[in-house]
Amino acid sequence: MSTLRRITEPLLSRARTFSGPLTEQLVREPGAFGLGQVPSSLAPEATTSMICGFCSTGCSLNVHLREGAATNLSPAGDYPVNIGMACPKGWEALAPLASPDRATTPLFRESRDQNFAPVDWSTAAKTFSTRMKSVIEEHGPESVAFLSTGQICTEEMALLGAFAKFGMGMIHGDGNTRQCMATAVRAYKESFGFDAPPFTYADFEESDMLVLVGSNLCIAHPIMWQRVLRNKRNPEIVVIDPRRTETAMQATRHIALQPKSDLVLFYGLANLLIQKNLLDHSFIKAHTADFEDFKTHVAAFPIDLVSEKTGISAEQLESLAELIGSGKRVSFWWTMGVNQSYEATRTAQSIINLALMTGNIGKPGTGANSITGQCNAMGSRLFSNTTNLLGGHDFTNPTDREKVASTLGFPVDRIPDQNSLAYDQIVERVKEGKIKALWIIATNPSHSWIGRKNFSEVLSKLDFLVVQDMYHTTDTAKAADLVLPAAGWGEKDGTLINSERRIGIVKKVAKAPGQALSDFLIFRLLADEWGCGAMFSEWNSPEAVFRIMQRLSKGQPCDISGINGYQQIDEQGGVQWPWPEGEASPPHRERRLFSNGKFFTKEKRAKFIFETITPDPEPPDDEYPLRLLTGRGTSAQWHTQTRTGKSGVLRRLSPRTNHIEVHPKDAAALGVNSGDIVKVSSRRSTIEILVFVTSTVMQGTVYIPMHEETTNRLTLAVFDPYSRQPSYKSCAVRIEQ
């Protein structure tokens, strides 16, 4: 036998091949440019870094280039945000560009029962111009509106806002940022005097205690979680969330409060801090206003009441208050669990109040910090010319109008003296037939809008619907009269502003398919066709518009006049606002606001803002006994999945179907199991959906991720009265087999 083996062994090994054309497909070689090994088939000739276009974390991605075009990417190794890492969406950021359903030519149809036909840009621009003008002539400037996005570059937002309002004469325009960040905007404006998130990401690393409210950081902002893990101070990590999320699992303490009891909790904690005298009296005295009234207000929230409403034991509440008032560095971080509520603004402010009363602001590892959603929601907040007049100014303030007009060299009467309607009010006016023409840019309300049983029906009331998007296949684009094909992230230049106010660069590293143009170039073309080409002659490149934005920002809290062009932003690893002229360059890489205790209100004091708690608009009852929560599914999915759904790897990392998470006890009572298909009904609609039984949701609540189109048929269209942000996080439903 061994003789046989001696003969056969060499023969067998010779019949094995370790190389060849298939093996070569996966050969790796040193990538140069500090990359380490890369696949030989994609080895770069150069690299350049740019900011990711998905979420507001603002990670820098190192794009691998061949002949100037992107072939691959990896996270940038030494950017102050992501420190060498990226989440799956960032890794796959190039994949959505190559999708076969990209819009490659303008599409038009005379009537909605026809199919789209491709048209050239000249026809598309003329159609846009004539149809919009005829609506305005017949029904006035309030009969047209635009709905924009937090997903395009700041320069594009500025040009869109300026062209629509100053050029076309529109009054109403809002963005999908209304769905994610409006609450933080309003809360900061009222409390601090300006929409100014005060933190820098280093605060994650420098806190002794992090309080995460309504934020599943591990899944929604994985790279911010990376920063939390870099914290060497052995911090207490408190997650306040009705669900036992991935982040709650990682926390040192999970406060699983009853849904919609957050405002009670924070008023109650404030009351406890006062009772225990765990306050920073000198900070309150020197830098805040209205504390005494606040004190009286929260006295109505004794611990027993708070415990009863929130479902959190008195001991836990006391211990939490003691931690917050310990005098150590406490930072508060909130996101959509707070923002998307019917009393969101006051809830956000109740968190701000906790930071103010304990002096946890303006110092390392502190702050009342709103984590943003979209990659450029922060740019939209300052420069989209929707809620604010360009640069954080006020449409209703004549001085601001004068200032902006003279900075731009436009006649002041071009600037509307009234505020725009909010998103929900625009939708309402469309429903009422008062808004007749709508221009939707880079957002997909037919999927994402709240309580939208029949959003397409609403859109069908329009005389003219223009959708400008990368894809002609979004639910919204399918409802349009005119589709304008847009270049995407990676196919254009510009800047994005992240959660911590950091301005970063995006670059054109891929050729847009067919006739697709960047949103910036589309706006230029339409402005020219409209007849106001000369008015925007200075707005001829993204960098030129950036310079205009710098001029507009002068003297504002968001002053960026000191930045020396795109080059400096690129080389510095982004620049956080403010960076006014005259500061010694280069700016420090991590800067926070309010270190001097001076806020942006007239009195330079932060305000304690509070209000009576409002009743839940749709609590569970006998007919609809369960409370539906909605939110992010996985880190591989982005919103309505128009982009993440285009990547094979991201699809593989997402559930293949929508599902509802049900607590085991509720499931037993209903007689349903994982894998069953059930009917879920709210007062708006009924959907069919797969069950997943898990106690990550508490008894009496159910959870459905937001990424599938069906979810928002169920949600209840109520809005925070101050921020007009939709209350996605709660409505009553029932489950039937």
Binding site: R16, T23, A32, W91, I219, L521, G533, R656, H659
Partner: protein, 518 residues
């Protein structure tokens, strides 16, 4: 006031859109870097030295550090230049389904570079190489013929078939990177430092890999392949064993249609041959004409030809003898190859009307070859250690198929008894109340319901047809066809209703590039 005609502006804008200038306009960073910029983040995550004698590289995963971000999966895809949707890493979730307050942990997993790799042990072409120094189990892409047997033998669902290339590919632990002191893609990409490369002692892995241990709850006993990955910090609830989030997911496994066809046909042919020989050897009155053996031979040829459709690279199929020392698939192919020859020789003896003792001697050889081949088929599936495919059950199924179809013309009573026995056996396995394989039962009654009903219906008709053909022999060909059709459905269920052993998956996981898809 327009300065230029609109058409020219459009041309300018389109030209501007198509020009890429980032390289000229922005600085090139790290152009003179001598080592990877990422090195500072991963240098503590990989060993300083190479494995010594009796050691190998292994993944070590800290389950408490993994937060489910899945960056590792995409990094593997991008940094290894894999195809659309392809990655060698996966992320799943473990949770406690019944607890009042949930525990959940996300699990990142790739190839376990087993100390006794089942992929390599089953491979008919020796397309797996366990590197002597590093212990990394490499797949030799150019050696692979795309038979996909490793996708059945690996109890962790690691090797994945690539349609474009017609081969399987899998994690190579970025061996080239490790050689240069660089971390594998997944290790580099984890923001939470949850994945490390460690050097482990092979004997320690063997010692810990007992029949009672498994990598994680719900995975197979580690004694099967002795996986080298270590998962740290598994959260154990006192009352409840964590379960995979995809535990209740009812997605049928791959059907492997050419194998369904090949198995039924080879078993049919082996059976026809067996009963042909028996009637001749014992001079039964029911001995059919030479056509019966010819029919068997045709069925055999069709079955074997059908098998090649299962290969991603059929032209490389000749390599399949290389693994005969370990691989039952290799043996199956060799034996069936020899059987085809022996069968032809038997036909020759009948054709030439040679003396009966020669006919019977050659026939006995052919019968033995055929039955040995069927036995090899049984072992091919039993080797996977999938409980649903355990030897006694597989032998029952394949054996009864051989008899039920094989006796259609010669002993209809036997055929009817065999199909009845087989139906009863399958009915027992499909009954959720008594089946030892409840998940398979749920699959059969649920998503595979129509296949199951077809199987039962055709099987019942075949049974009655066989009974009637005792008195009405003209029905025998109909019996044969019904038996074959019915057995094809049964064999499809054999493949699709099997519970695929794997690492924990996510909630209703997508099945792109997975062994469990339609």
């Amino acid at each position: 006031m327009k300065l230029v005609p609109a058409t020219s502006l459009i041309d300018d804008l389109l030209a501007e859109q198509q020009s890429l200038t980032a390289v000229e306009r922005f600085s090139q960073f790290h152009s003179d870097a001598t080592e990877p910029v990422q090195a500072k983040y991963y240098q503590d995550l990989i060993p300083l030295s190479r494995p010594g004698e009796g050691e190998q590289y292994a993944f070590e995963v800290d389950l408490d550090a993994c937060s489910g971000c899945k960056a590792c999966v995409t990094a593997c895809h991008s940094l290894n230049g894999l195809d659309e949707g392809e990655s060698w890493r996966d992320v799943g979730t473990l949770y406690t389904p019944e607890a009042d307050t949930a525990t959940q942990q996300t699990v990142t997993t790739a190839c376990h570079h087993c100390s006794d790799p089942a992929c390599a042990n089953g491979c008919p072409t020796l397309a797996y190489d366990k590197d002597a120094e590093t212990g990394i189990v490499r797949h030799l892409d150019d050696q692979c013929i795309g038979c996909q047997y490793c996708t059945l033998t690996c109890p962790y669902d690691v090797p994945k078939y690539n349609d474009r290339l017609g081969i399987v590919r899998k994690c190579d632990m970025c061996h080239g990177r490790l050689k240069e002191g660089e971390a594998p893609a997944c290790v580099q990409a984890c923001p939470n430092e949850a994945i490390k490369i460690r050097i482990v002692s092979v004997s320690a892995v063997s010692e810990r890999s007992t029949p009672d241990t498994s990598l994680l709850p719900g995975t197979v006993p580690s004694s099967i392949t002795r996986p080298t990955t270590t998962f740290l910090n598994l959260r154990q609830d006192a009352d409840e064993e964590p379960a995979a989030a995809d535990r209740a997911d009812l997605t049928p496994a791959h059907r492997h249609t050419p194998l369904v066809f090949m198995l039924v046909m080879t078993q049919a042919a082996a059976g026809l041959l067996l009963f042909d020989w028996i009637t001749r050897a014992f001079s039964f009155s029911s001995a059919p004409g030479t056509w019966h053996a010819v029919l068997g031979f045709i069925v055999c040829q069709v079955g074997l030809a059908g098998a090649t459709f299962h290969l991603g690279r059929p032209l490389q199929g000749w390599r399949s003898f290389l693994g005969w020392r370990k691989s039952w698939l290799s043996r199956e192919i060799l034996v069936f190859g020899a059987w085809a020859g022996a069968f032809a020789a038997y036909l020759g003896t009948l054709w030439l009307e040679l003396p009966q003792f020669i006919e019977l001697a050659v026939g006995a050889g052919a019968v033995m070859a055929g039955l040995t081949g069927v036995f090899c088929s049984m072992m091919v599936y039993a080797f996977t250690k999938r409980p649903f495919w355990k030897l006694s059950h597989t032998a029952t199924r394949f054996g009864l198929t051989t008899i039920a179809i094989g006796a259609s013309f010669t002993f209809p009573v036997v055929a009817a008894a065999a199909i009845a026995a087989k139906l009863a056996f399958e009915y027992y396995l499909a009954a959720e109340s008594c089946s030892p394989f409840p998940k398979s039962a749920r699959l059969i009654k649920g998503p595979l319901g129509s296949v199951w009903l077809s199987r039962l219906g055709l099987g019942a008709i075949a049974f009655f047809c066989a009974i009637i053909s005792i008195f009405l022999p003209i029905l025998e060909p109909v019996t044969l066809l019904l038996m074959i059709a019915s057995e094809l459905f049964a064999r499809a269920l054999y493949f699709q209703a099997v519970e695929v052993p794997k690492m924990p998956g996510g909630i209703y996981p997508s099945h792109e590039h997975s062994a469990t898809h339609h």
